[in-house]
């Protein structure tokens, strides 16, 4: 069954005005379309500046699209007020790239994880649910009262994941979730994501410019270039026989050891 469908999505950023002349806006997305099924794990790779983060911002309804539509189980989504988007936020959550900076430094781990439950009006006992979420990413009750500056990078990323899955979303969007971590933490975090997806049936769309990380988690990958999706195939096939020149470049940049997964 289709979970998310994206149709003909384009986005442009206005540039700040220079002197008296207006400059043309930057087009970051050029009418791209794709679909994701329930529980599917998809990797999104591409060179720097290809528009991966822009696509995620559109999918998170943080940026009004110039044209096109995003539909979650057939229901259209548009950037709007916090209240109007609560239903969507409960179903689609986000794991950011820089976990320590994305946690409010004045809030404890427990408060951070419980915050979306309270703000998005999820019907549950927030503290219980927060503890559960933390347990499922492998953090026990000793972490509840810590603050972000008392966590390692990998622990903070697991807190960020716990915060994202606390609302039991159907889709997790994540932008470079492991690029700031060391090798051991990377493996741990990818394992946590895979485990969650398998147990709860959560779909994952993961951005990375490291195709080996994608290969470790996803069966399907999409390659972006210049605001378009230029290749959308199973990872294994892509690794064996890249179609688009950019895909081969990305493969050559990846360290060979993880490419086997």
């Amino acid at each position: 069954m289709t979970l998310l469908s994206v149709r003909d999505l384009s986005l442009s950023y206005p540039l700040p005005r220079r002197s008296w002349r207006r400059s043309a806006p930057v087009r970051a997305l050029h009418g791209l379309s794709f679909e994701m099924g329930e529980g599917e794990r998809v990797g999104l790779v591409g060179m720097s500046g290809s528009g991966k983060s822009s696509l995620l911002r559109c999918l998170l309804a943080m940026e009004p699209a110039a044209t096109g539509q995003v539909l979650l189980r057939g229901r259209p989504v548009a950037a709007g007020s916090v209240a109007a988007l609560r239903w969507y936020r409960r179903a689609v959550q986000y794991v950011p790239q820089d976990p320590i900076a994305s946690l409010e430094p004045r809030m404890t781990v427990a408060q951070s994880v419980a915050e979306p439950l309270l703000r998005l009006r999820v019907d549950c006992d927030p503290m219980r649910r927060a503890e559960e979420a933390l347990e499922s990413v492998g953090l026990d009750h000793r972490f509840l009262r810590r603050r972000p500056d008392e966590l390692s990078g990998g622990q903070a990323q697991r807190v960020a994941i716990a915060r994202a899955i606390a609302t039991r979303p159907s889709l997790l969007l994540t932008d470079e979730p492991v690029s700031g971590l060391d090798m051991t933490s990377r493996v741990q975090v990818v394992e946590v994501l895979r485990h969650l997806s398998e147990v709860h049936g959560t779909a994952i769309l993961m951005v990375s410019h490291d195709i080996s990380v994608v290969a470790g988690l996803c069966r399907r990958a999409m390659v972006m270039d210049g605001g378009r999706i230029v290749e959308d195939r199973p990872v294994a096939a892509m690794l064996r026989d890249p179609h688009h020149p950019h895909t081969s470049e990305l493969l050559n940049a990846a360290p060979p050891m993880t490419a086997a997964a």
Binding site: R18, L103, E115, R163
Partner: protein
Amino acid sequence: MIRTLDRLIPALSRGVTLAAVMVLIAMLPWISGRDPALSILRARMGDQDATPEALAAIRDKLGLAAGPVQHMRDWITGLLQGDWGTSWISGAPVLAGTLKALLVSLTLMSAAFGVAVVAAILLAWPTMRRGLRGRDTHSAGAVAAILTAMPEFTLSALFLVVFSVWLAWFPPYGWGSAGHIVLPALALGLPGGGLLGRLLTNAIAATFHERWIATWAVAGFTRGQIARAVLRRSLPALMPQIGMIVVAMTGGAIAVEQVFSIPGLGRAVLGAASAQDLPALQAGILILLVNALAIGVTVNLIRVGLLGRALQMRALPVPQIASPPPSGRLWLVPVVVLILLAALVMAGLPRDAYSSQFIRLQPPGLALPLGADGLGRDVLARIAHGAVSTIGMAAFVTLISLVVGLGIGLMPRIAIGLIEVTKATPPTIAALIVVAAMGPSALGAVIAVSAVAWAPLAAHTAALVSEARAQPHVRIAPILGVGPLRLIPRSILPAVFGPVLRHAMLRLPGNALALAGLGFLGLGARPPAPEWGLILADALPYVERAPLSVLTPVAALALMSVLGVSLASLSRCHFSISLHIWKKYMKNPDNIAFNFNVLSRVCKRFGS
């Protein structure tokens, strides 16, 4: 569509603010609640009774009968046609007199600006020379800054005593000969010059730390060429401050003209305020404001011209102005000043500040440590009581400006016009408007100083808010369902409050000086209140017979400015550098390499 509107908000905000100021000035006669017809009758036809018929006749003649809105429209169309109204006192058109006075003021301000530039060059010269010879450059010394950070009216009084009364080098009052302009120009120019010199020194020092200097020196450029390039690089960063300094001069000029009896715009406006001659006051306030705004715009244009297109493209990093080095002794200054002030208050507070129990101008003695004033009152007691009330009022102003500044700084785009116009308004001009509306009083002075003191705090808040909004944990908030309103207590206020509170506290001495300045000009506390500015103003007529009675309040005010300057420079070093870098980077072991870099750079800069 929404984006276009969004871009227009700052322009709209500026336009609306200017329009509001115009309306405020136009409506002054009505806001004051005083019947203008009555004032005119008193001033011009003292013998005539205030019969209803006589009043109605005057109202008719002025076009006041039509009501406030019609009058406002007439006033504004009159402005455009060159008819700025007629004085309620003399009956003469106000525009001609105002322009004549403006010419005098502009002459004074040009001379003062010349003084400021010369002072700044003298202060920055040693640093430039060291830099050109390839030696390490230092930031400006604190002593020069402290000496020149005194408010203009205090400096004027000091110069009057020293150079006119004791040394008799220059005439004490008046206008017309070359000798008349020296002391006022020095009094008006030196405070700004000291500040400018310090900023220029620091900017030059920062520029000499940039890489291209070494490259140029190796490439064989002459010292003259390098000096010119260094100045061209350093000056643009200073332009906003130069603008603020010149704007402050328009306020300072009012006090200086008052002390030296110069027939300039400031004195004319003060006269109009005390006579409640509202048309003259309106014209004067308007010209002062236009003057200040014109300076702001000009300075900005010069800045853009200096940096060229690079600034518009945001391609050129403007050099950051380094703070002066922290040293152990710097703590000493504010502590000593605070102890002195406390001792003064302790000694004088139990004494009687109001009754005239001594001989007029009685010289100091054992029973009367600081002598008596022109009415035979105990100066020590008055200074001590004045310290308490001035500092108390300044604390109140600080609190109000903190709250208002935080509130307005949270919505900087909407309020940008208000912030800019307020920053270009010296407290004296604000006080003139307040006095026109409600007459002079201590409360009015508090309102006037509060009305402008919030602007720097709002600008600071706005800068911190945009910094906080760029933080990842704030940008992610909408995804977690945290709306813009809840964001303020959750993330914005906690990030902003501490630094802005410290900034507000640092401005307390400055606020006290501004209040005293208004008292001095007769725009604040009324006699017999023992207010520092008022004490100084009361003593000035006796400057030739009893110079000490002038020097005592001058010394107290100087102590206050030393406190302000030393606290400010102290905090800039302490808070922004050590704490910030330490906290932010030492926590994460990944940053150790970076820490070494930062620390070694910091140590090198501060020469330790």
